[in-house]
């Protein structure tokens, strides 16, 4: 068995500037918070972020100047905190390109990547301005003659996923909702797993149905207790309401956002995870 455990610093340093990165979880839940903070600390640039529905991860990385483009269906904090202010400003100023998707077209693009197909057909999209704005094309079904929208393969250079338990070979157990993590693990060229704890994987053999991420797809495993924070990590902790409220408030202005990042993320004394 290959021991794939490493440090967060090592795992994230393997991601080059300009990489297309899929981030696990959804809105406020089970995002790879610690890894996102490490991306900020390492000063990554020109990343393309891939997610169906992102929130703090995308917002923070936009504020920190790490992002060139966001390929997602929804970016916002849901009802508790509203819109993502730094993402919004970054797009409005032209610094970040919003490669807007329907969540279903993100999934279709990942599916094409997974299957080794150049594109994936997707039902719907009729009447939307998105296909024209994004250059999504139709093809004619050679059997029925019907036109259907197709989405190009969306191959992440890396997927960064946070799970509750992993073994040293990369098997990852997800408790509760899997979101798009399984698709991302299959679609990406490289998979980085952070885990609340690293356990002896022999126990996984008793309930392999709960192991959402197959170890042979994974390149690096990092033990990161609290590693989803400030996202939730069922059943261990909820999303951090106070922290997120403070961030969203700071993120409305570039200067306060910079100060927040300097004090609460970059300052080693304040190490958040």
């Amino acid at each position: 068995m290959i021991d794939k455990t490493t440090t967060l610093t090592e795992a994230i340093s393997a991601i080059p500037d300009g990489a297309r990165i899929a981030l696990g979880g959804n809105t406020l839940h089970r995002g790879p918070g610690a890894a996102v903070h490490e991306l900020v600390r390492q000063g990554k640039r020109n990343l393309e972020l891939v997610k169906t529905a992102g929130a703090y991860d995308v917002d923070l990385l936009c504020a920190a100047g790490c992002v060139a483009a966001v390929s997602a269906g929804f970016i916002g904090y849901e009802t508790p905190f509203g819109m993502a202010p730094a993402y919004r400003k970054a797009v409005e100023s032209g610094r970040v390109q919003a490669r807007e998707h329907a969540c279903a077209t993100v999934i279709a693009g990942l599916r094409a990547a997974i299957q080794g197909a150049p594109f994936m057909p997707v039902a719907g999209l009729q009447g939307s301005d998105l296909p024209a704005a994004r250059g999504f094309r139709t093809v004619r079904d050679p059997y029925s003659g019907v036109e259907v929208y197709v989405v190009p393969a969306l191959v992440p250079d890396a997927a960064i996923l946070h799970v509750q338990e992993a073994d040293a070979t990369g098997n990852g157990r997800i408790i509760g909702t899997r979101f798009e993590d399984v698709l991302m693990a299959q679609a990406a060229r490289r998979v980085i797993l952070t885990a609340e704890r690293i356990v002896d994987g022999e126990a996984f053999a008793d309930a392999p149905e709960t192991v959402a991420i197959a170890g042979f797809l994974v390149d690096a495993v990092v033990e990161a207790p609290g590693g989803a924070w400030p996202f939730s990590c069922t059943p261990l902790y909820e999303y951090d309401t106070d922290y997120l409220a403070a961030w969203v408030s700071a993120a409305r202005d570039p200067d306060t956002a910079d100060r927040f990042i300097a004090e609460r993320i970059l300052d080693p004394a304040a190490a958040v995870a």
Binding site: H29, F74, G76, C103, G124, L125, L130, T177, E180
Partner: protein, 244 residues
């Protein structure tokens, strides 16, 4: 205090109105940031639609949450589920014509029931970058019925012309704090005004032309049974969170 409508909060009125639109046996889905659909679906299931199938992004099927989360993607919504499906599975369900109802919303909604969740101004150089349509561009043409809801009813929301068409499709009803639209022949028509809402107020709040007058029906107030069920499902009042 003679007007009973004064005692009914707009979120209660909306949740009840939305619940009434659901039928037993239907598959019903809502996505992110959807407290009202969450409450409405659970309410319908408790009241008149026990065999409705409740689906959401957590991948639960007919969950029985002890307490309702404000985030409607919260794994708290898994409680009691007997199987796990994925968001991809639910899009597929809609794609093959087996999703009966999708709850969706829009920052702008036009007279055809089309929505904008993408941008205010030019999409490429937006004055305001909005969150994005989530699943709507795929769901709106494929779900059998789409119910739109929006907690704001003003001329900036209900507009003559969308800045960008994020999604268009099978809209059946639109529920707002002022009343209910129904779509006939591709146009939104006023089905009913909530109690206490005048035709003038509704007309002024709507940015596209609507046919509304004193003959327009009034949405029945929530019954005691409906309100009691609502309180039981949502004792913390999560249903009001979209109004904050």
């Amino acid at each position: 205090m003679n007007d009973p409508s004064a005692e009914v909060a707009p979120w209660d009125m909306m949740a009840v109105a939305m619940a009434r639109l659901l039928k037993s046996g239907e598959t019903v889905f809502h996505g992110v940031a959807s407290p009202l659909p969450m409450v409405a679906t659970l309410l319908a299931k408790r009241l008149h639609a026990p065999d409705l199938t409740y689906l959401n992004i957590t991948g639960s099927v007919d969950p029985q949450p002890a307490a309702l989360p404000v985030s409607t993607v919260d794994p708290a919504l898994l409680a009691g589920t007997r199987s796990l499906v994925t968001l991809a599975d639910l899009f597929d369900l809609s794609g093959r014509g087996r999703l009966d109802v999708a709850f969706l919303s829009g920052v702008q909604i036009d007279g055809e029931g089309r929505i904008n969740l993408s941008a205010i101004g030019d999409w490429k150089h937006p004055a305001v970058r909005l969150p994005g349509g989530a699943g709507s561009a795929m769901l709106m043409p494929t779900a059998r019925r789409v119910i739109l809801w929006r907690t704001r009813h003003d001329p900036r929301t209900f507009v003559e012309r969308l800045d960008f068409v994020t999604a268009a499709g099978n809209v059946d009803r639109v529920v707002t704090p002022l009343g209910i639209f129904v779509r006939h022949d591709g146009r939104l028509e006023v089905e009913s005004l909530h109690p206490g809402v005048t035709p003038e107020a509704f007309r002024e709040a709507t940015g596209f032309a609507v046919d509304v007058d004193e003959r327009t029906p009034t949405t029945p107030l929530p019954s005691d049974e409906e309100l009691a069920a609502l309180r039981m499902i949502d004792p913390e009042g999560v249903v009001s969170s979209e109004f904050q």
